[in-house]
């Protein structure tokens, strides 16, 4: 029997998991819509939020990347209920509760700055930009915990090639979506939003640098950075900006959120490095979620072979 793949469905066509798992809420909202229509309020505005939330849509993963680790993956539950996403609350468990308010469709990312072909790319286009790969990466947080996650996406270099950076482009700046209405908890974070991050162009070109649209075979849950995020596995987690809305190629080193907040604690590079402690805690060890004993932290999070050459001759104690 021939099982045919559904042809070219976009995200918008699929009933989001959050909707079918929340039938009651959905029905209640539908009821609300009816009542609101009677009250003379805009119907479309009330219908649209529910139908535009998506998460847990199956992705068509073409290949498993050879850059994957064979280490034991963390559970989906761990990775979706232990998050740092300060726009949705500062406790690890808060993003899972609060990120449902993020509207991830329609979505587009503006690619701009020192490129020959600046453009706004919709999430549907991003999904077709390159074949999707599964990459199982170690992910090390600056707070000394780590996880292993089967991300889905493609090398960020694919996007870079398509927009053709000019010779002036030396850095890439990333910006995370920010909206006070959708992120009411952001005001308690003590951070100036939107969240911004950045990479040197050669770091961004490294094949390990992933433009990520999913994990565990599905689209990204909101709390993990839906609909599209960066994953830079040899750097502390905060470098991997979530829910991207802007990618800017530029001549100068871009400001980055945590560095702005405490430059003595969080550098621009933020490479995982067991020999350079955070001023307030050691980075020599980490706790892999799900394990009792701490394990040794590896230089560049175990990706030395692929990335160490990027930093030849650099004093990594100075450029932490």
């Amino acid at each position: 029997m021939l099982i045919r793949k559904t042809p070219d469905l976009t995200y918008a066509d699929v009933t989001p998991k959050s909707v079918y798992l929340n039938r009651r809420k959905f029905l209640r909202n539908t009821g609300l819509v009816g009542a609101a229509a009677f009250a003379g309020r805009g119907l479309w505005e009330l219908v649209s939020p529910a139908s535009h939330v998506y998460a847990g849509t199956k992705l068509n993963v073409v290949s498993k990347s050879p850059s994957s680790t064979t280490e034991k993956q963390n559970t989906y539950d761990d990775v979706t209920h232990y998050n740092n996403y300060y726009e949705f609350g500062v406790d690890k468990t808060e993003p899972a509760k609060n990120a449902g308010s993020l509207k991830t469709y329609p979505w587009s990312v503006s690619v701009e700055g020192e490129v020959k072909k600046p453009r706004k790319i919709s999430i549907d286009e991003i999904l077709k930009m390159a074949p999707l790969e599964e990459r199982i990466y170690r992910h090390r947080c600056v707070e000394a915990w780590s996880i292993v996650v089967p991300w889905i996406g493609f090398s960020f270099s694919e996007l870079i090639k398509q927009v053709e950076p000019t010779p002036q482009a030396k850095y890439v700046a990333f910006e995370t979506f920010f909206d006070r209405q959708q992120m009411p908890q952001a005001k308690y974070a003590g951070i100036d939003f939107p969240y911004v991050e950045g990479l040197r162009l050669d770091e961004a070109m490294n094949p390990l640098t992933l433009l990520c649209v999913g994990m565990y075979g599905e689209t990204l849950p909101n709390q993990d950075g839906a609909p599209v995020r960066m994953v830079i596995p040899w750097k502390y987690g905060f470098k991997s900006a979530k829910s991207l809305v802007k990618i800017r190629f530029q001549k100068d080193l871009p400001p980055t959120t945590w560095n702005r907040l405490a430059s003595n604690e969080y550098g621009f590079y933020a490479n995982v490095n067991p020999h350079v402690d955070h001023p307030r805690w050691t980075q020599a060890k980490e706790r892999r979620l799900g394990e009792f004993f701490k394990r040794e932290t590896l230089m560049f999070n175990g990706y030395s072979d692929q990335v160490a050459s990027l930093y030849n001759g650099m004093d990594l104690k100075k450029y932490y």
């Binding site: 990775v79 232990y82 300060y86 468990t93 050691t282 004993f293």
Partner: protein
């Protein structure tokens, strides 16, 4: 009201309420409620409750005077000992679950990381207070000296709050809330020392009692 405050049932009830945070932790442990990083969760929860009980302990005197309920003093030692109880759990979690008795590592932490230095100091200063909390020790030291010794709680409280403040990455609103409450409690003491209110019942040094819960 007085009768209620003096009832042993009330004391037993308050004792059980003070144990609730511990019970909740236990319940969560049995129901996968400790998040993906249980050790961090336990550390934070026990640390939070230590600070809260320190503040509750420090609130007893102001409330006694402002509400004219001197009998509230019956609960102060219990609150103080619960602060110590949660402090012990917090410290044990750190030294056992987090560092796994790697004492060299622990000492490096205390020496090198100011927030751990302060946390450790806050904990150590609570030990003599817990030891001398019995009626026997109050008698042995004499009310006056006992009181002087127990002013260490102010240092513990300040060190504890700064410990928290130095530990957070950016969300300083929570440690600042603790700091604000502590400031009010300490200012109230300074103010009542310089401007004693004649109507308020005088502070009585805690009297040794035979029956202790």
């Amino acid at each position: 009201m007085r009768k209620l405050l003096l009832s042993n049932w009330t004391k037993a009830g308050v004792f059980l309420i003070c144990l609730l945070p511990f019970a909740v932790l236990g319940w969560r442990a049995l129901h996968h409620g400790l998040t993906a990083n249980p050790i961090e969760f336990i550390t934070h929860a026990t640390g939070d409750w230590t600070l809260r009980f320190i503040l509750v302990t420090l609130s007893v005197t102001p409330f006694r005077k402002l509400l004219g309920l001197p009998d509230l003093i019956r609960f102060r030692r219990m609150f103080g000992l619960f602060a110590f109880f949660y402090g012990c759990l917090h410290f044990t979690t750190y030294i056992w679950l987090d560092k796994f008795f790697d004492l060299k590592e622990v000492w490096k932490d205390i020496d090198k990381r100011p927030y751990i230095t302060l946390g450790f100091l806050a904990f150590v200063l609570m030990i003599p207070l817990a030891i001398t909390s019995t009626a026997g020790w109050i008698r042995r030291l004499g009310g006056r000296q006992w009181q002087v010794l127990h002013r260490l709680i102010y240092l513990t409280a300040i060190a504890g709050v700064v410990h928290y403040y130095w530990l957070v990455k950016s969300a300083i609103i929570r440690p600042l809330t603790y700091a604000a409450i502590l400031t009010v409690l300490l200012l109230w003491r300074i103010a009542s020392k310089f401007w004693p209110r004649p109507s308020a019942p005088a502070a009585i040094p805690p009297q040794p009692r035979k029956i202790q819960a």
